[in-house]
Structure formats: C-alpha cells, structure tokens
C-alpha cells in the first residue's frame, strides 16, 4: 500500500537555502498537501541548492526577487533567511498576498504554536514560528501555569549541537533569546521569563535538550506531572521525536522539567531536533492552510 498521490497540492516557495530551508524542503516532499515549486536563496554553492536540484525542484539564486517577478510561482512562502532579511521580505510578500510562514525570530507576524493557536493563525497573512526553543517550551509553560496560575517566573535553557546551528541562528542569537522569552510570556501569561541558549560542539553531536525551570512555592507535583505528560503527548502528534527525559522534579525551590527532541534525520542527522521541532510546527501550519485552500477549491 503506497501513499495515495494527490493531484492537487498547494505550491510552496522557500526563501533561504540553509539548514532550516533545506530541512523544510525535504519534509515537503512527504506532504500530501504541499509541493515545493521554488527553492531560492543567495548562495549558488549552498548544499541545499544542490539537494533541491537533485530532487528536481526549481531553484534560484535571486532570493525573493524570483517570487516578486513570478508571483504565480507559489501561494505559501516560508522565509528561512534571517530576522534582518525578513524585515525587507515581509512587505514585499504582503503586497503579493502570499501566506507567509516566517521561520526567523523577526516577530513581524503573529506568533504561532500549532498546539495553541493554529486556527487563529490561518486567518493571518504572516505567521511567525517564534524559535525552536519556543516551540519546545511554550506548551509546557502553559501546562505548568494551568496547574499553578500564580507562577511568577519561568526560565528555559536550550542546548543544541553546534552543527545544527546555522549562520542565521548565530547572527540572530540576541533575537533568538528575546523572541523565545517574549513568546513564553505572551502565550503562558507569566510575568517574568528568561531564555538561554547554549551551543555545544561535542562529537557525536548532542540531541536538542530543553530544561524548563519554574519558580513555584508549593507545587502540586501530581497535577503537574499529569498536565506535563498530557502536553508532551499532544506535541508528539506533530513532532514525533519530542520526549520527556526528566521531571517534573521539585529541587532547589524550583520545578524542573527536561525534554529532548530527536530529529527525523531529514536534512541533518537525528541530533538536529531543533530543526525538526520548528519545521514540523511550520509544516503543520502550512498543511492546515493548504487543506483549507484545497477544500475551498473543491467546493
């Protein structure tokens, strides 16, 4: 039994041919609702461009200009460049009426965590996927706050392998921590938040590891454990490699929860769970949008 091929798929353009863009490209190959009709960047020697050509996907080194010149190329655009570049791209794509999924920490569009506000985001024209740390943590923060509404401080520490942190992540490290901590604040309504990111160059590369600390005076560990385990199950529906490795644990006057993300090994090997968690979330958004479009076409 093979996968049924759909004759109608929604066309997708990807700007940015680095780690994020290339991984999205491969995930889209598996989608029943999406097809990548343009893979565009600036660097003709990028490994991603080579990969796309090998897959028979149209490529360009004219970055956003190829979409500007040929707007019929795609309905959905993933911007996997940098926060700085997205500032330039966003108004152009808005003029072209594209549904934009922004993978950078630019915070121009509405922040989206599929588990929390997917339907709402489909009504917007520019959706921001926050950061990989944000995707890995915001649902947990919401679970913690649902049990302890009084939680006043929450902190996230993400460790990722150096190999999985592309130049965009490195150039945007400040935007990364800021956007992650703002994302937690906005979604979980916790007054004080902090995000920390650490790159570890160890070989073999480490899996993406996330630790959440919450400051809670008298935690109800039974309820917290239940809420967190439920949330993890929900995330696993769209990020299969997401797992709880420790906790919740109460030590040192803090509630500690640790999760790990094992990637699917699409573009980078399995250690790059950070690529997977943000990209799986983005694909979930794009597929829901595509389904909506396709059903309106068939009507």
């Amino acid at each position: 039994m093979g996968i049924k091929k759909r004759s109608h798929k929604i066309k997708v353009g990807i700007i940015g041919t680095g780690n994020i863009g290339s991984d999205l490209l491969i995930k889209i190959q598996r989608s029943l609702y999406l097809e990548c009709s343009m893979f565009t960047g600036k660097n003709p020697d990028s490994d991603g461009i080579r990969k796309a050509k090998a897959l028979g996907v149209r490529t360009s080194t004219d970055s956003i200009r190829v979409i500007e010149k040929n707007p019929e190329l795609c309905d959905i655009v993933f911007d996997a460049t940098s926060a700085e570049s997205h500032l330039v791209h966003a108004p152009i794509l808005a003029k072209l009426h594209k549904f934009v999924i922004d993978m950078t920490p630019s915070r121009i569009g509405s922040m989206c965590v599929p588990l929390v506000n997917l339907s709402e985001c489909l009504q917007k024209s520019n959706v921001n996927m926050i950061t990989c740390g944000g995707q890995a943590t915001i649902p947990l923060a919401i679970a913690i706050r649902s049990v302890h509404p009084e939680v006043d401080y929450l902190e996230l520490v993400s460790s990722i392998s150096s190999k999985s942190a592309g130049i965009g992540t490195r150039d945007n490290i400040d935007e990364y921590t800021q956007t992650t901590s703002d994302g937690i604040k906005a979604f979980a309504h916790i007054p004080h938040t902090k995000a920390i990111i650490i790159l570890n160059p160890a070989e073999p590369p480490i899996m993406m590891h996330n630790t959440v600390y919450a400051h809670i005076e008298n935690p109800d560990m039974g309820k917290l454990t239940h809420a967190i385990q439920e949330t993890v199950k929900q995330i696993q529906k769209y990020v299969p490699g997401y797992r709880l490795v420790l906790g919740p644990l109460f030590e040192n006057n803090r509630v500690t929860v640790m999760t790990e993300v094992i990637g699917r090994g699409d573009y980078l090997p399995v250690y790059a769970g950070n690529l997977d968690i943000i990209n799986c979330a983005a694909i979930a958004v794009a597929e829901r949008y595509a389904k909506m479009k396709l059903s309106s076409i068939h009507k």
């Binding site: 520490v157 921590t177 490795v245 420790l246 803090r254």
Partner: protein, 329 residues
C-alpha cells in the same frame, strides 16, 4: 560566593582595587551580565546596581563587564551597562563558537568600548582551532583575546604551546585566565606571560567558583620575585585579599570535588551545583563530574548536572536490583 555579593562588599572590593592600581575590574554576576538565572544561580543584586556601586569607587581603574551571548543580550544588558559607564567589555563564548560574539563585539567596538573576545573552556580545542576562532574575533574588532582555562585542567606546557600559537598568529594582545583546580593557576599564568601574553586575569584571594582562580596578590608577588614590573601595590592587594577572605562563606580550596572537576575537564563553576545534586540523588559527586566530562558539557550547561545525577542514580538502583535478583537465583 553563590552570587551573593552585597553593595557594601562590592564597594570595599572596588575601593581596594583602585588603591592597588589594578588596571580593570570586572563587575557583575559570575557568569556575566544577564546570567542571573535559576540555571546558574540568581545574584543578590541586579547587574546594574553592582556596576553602579563599583563605578562610584573607581578613578584610574577601569570598570569592566563580562557577557556571554545566549545568556545576556545587547538590548537588555550591554546597552544599560554602557550607560552606567562601563569602559571595558569581555564578550565570551565556548572556544569553538566565536561567530556568536559578532553582533556584540561589533556593537561595543562601534560605541568606542575597549572590547575583548573571550574563548572559554579552551582546553577543548587545539591551538590552531583557538587561533582560527580568535581571528574571527579580531576581524569583528576585538582589542585583545582572553583565553580561559575554565576547567582548570591545563599544565604549563599546554599553556606555553597554545598561548604561543595565538601570540604568533594574531595582531592583537593575548591574555590568560587560569583556574586552580590542579593547583596550577599561578604556574600557568607565568607560562602564559613567558609565551607572550600581555595581560592576566586574576582575582583577589583567588575568588572564584570551585577551586578558585589565579590568586592576584600571589601572582604579583611571584612577578616581583621574577623582576617583572606590574605597577601593582602589593600591600594594597594583600589588604584586599583579607577583605575577600572575610566575606567568603567557605574557604576557596582544592577539595575532592574541585580536583575532580579539573581532572574531568569540566567547568569549575559546576562544583556547588554538583555537590547539591549528589546529595539530592545520593550519588558520588566525583562520578557526576566524570560523566559530565564524558558528555563534553560546556560552560552554562548546569542543567545537565541534574540529568546526569538522575541517570547515575537509576544506574545504581538498577545494579542493586540486579544483584538482589542474582542472589535469589
């Protein structure tokens, strides 16, 4: 110190450093601006207040601050620090990740701040790798490069070779920051000077997490014996050391745990967290350090301590069960 300096203690320290003729003092949370956290420990006073208090006491001695990208940011931490009169900045990263400092070094250099690039946990890279990373920082505009032996694991021969490679390959000054886990902080600092280092990072009374850092007044005395001029006033440095000794909650010493940290090549600052986790999970702190070394954790990954302690506990319980099962058979 557990990041618990009071305003009065900072005032005393800064006053003493000024009197002793210290070039620069670095003020703030032990892991830099913006590092006060549940991960590393919350500091008693906000960074801004610490900088303000210290700044008041300084005339000739420059006020400095330290920042690790990923912990602190330009907007939240660097900008306010510069507004408070910080004249010297240290922008630090793990020794192989220099490009995460680009934003921050460029920002500070543009503002006319004397900015250093800092490579932490330098024992985890070769001399050539360190040089390549330092060259990136030089290109961003760094005034000098500080090499840290964050685990206190170097021997003088390592320092001679690595600092030598950097001094020959760079156009800017090279400095060294020693930890004392193997009792080599002074010897390694001297080796760095012999290899061409032009500045040494040291602390009064060796103040620092774990086994402490290079003890400033001892280094000054050794340099005096060697006939190397530093411009430091030894008596004032000694007075300052006494002040620090009075403040410390427990002596800075090489004990089993801090020794093991140096041997395992793990960041010295982990020691108090490892001791707590060992107690909580009922495992040997030395085993935690050995496992952390195996996992090649970097500075700032304090959360992995709990992960490791829980793993060792599970392993231990499993072995006991195994044994019980065997004895039943």
């Amino acid at each position: 110190m557990g990041h618990q300096f009071t305003a009065e203690q900072i005032t005393m320290y800064a006053r003493g450093a000024e009197k002793a003729g210290t070039e620069v003092i670095i003020v703030g949370h032990g892991n830099g601006l913006g590092a006060s956290s549940l991960q590393l420990g919350k500091s008693l006073l906000p960074d801004k207040e610490m900088l303000e208090v210290a700044g008041k006491e300084l005339k000739k001695t420059k006020l400095g601050a330290f920042l690790i990208p990923g912990f602190g940011t330009i907007q939240n931490d660097l900008e306010p620090a510069l507004d408070l009169g910080v004249q010297v900045l240290m922008i630090a990263c793990h020794c192989t990740e220099a490009n995460v400092t680009k934003q921050h070094i460029r920002y500070a250099v543009k503002k006319g701040i004397q900015t250093y690039g800092v490579l932490m946990m330098s024992h985890m890279a070769t001399g050539e790798q360190l040089l390549e990373q330092a060259q990136f920082m030089q290109e961003y505009g760094a005034y000098g490069i500080l090499i840290m032996d964050s685990a206190g694991t170097y021997l003088p021969a390592d320092v001679l070779s690595k600092i030598g490679t950097l001094v020959h390959g760079l156009d800017i000054g090279v400095g060294f920051h020693a930890h004392n886990n193997l009792g080599m902080a002074i010897a390694n600092s001297i080796a760095a000077i012999q290899a061409g280092a032009t500045f040494i990072d040291a602390t009064s009374h060796g103040l620092g997490a774990g086994a402490g850092n290079c003890q400033l007044e001892v280094l000054a005395a050794v340099l005096q014996r060697m006939g190397i001029e530093t411009g430091l006033d030894l008596y004032s440095l000694m007075d300052n050391s006494d002040i620090v000794a009075g403040i410390m909650k427990r002596p800075i010493e090489i004990n089993t745990v801090t020794l093991m940290s140096g041997l395992a090549g793990v960041f010295s600052g982990f020691a108090p967290h490892v001791e707590k986790a060992a107690k909580k999970f009922g495992v040997d702190p030395r085993d935690i350090f050995a496992e952390l070394g195996k996992r090649k954790v970097v500075a700032g990954q304090e959360d992995i301590i709990i992960d490791v302690a829980s793993y060792l506990k599970q392993k231990k319980d499993f072995k006991q069960e195994d044994y019980q099962l065997e004895s039943l058979l």
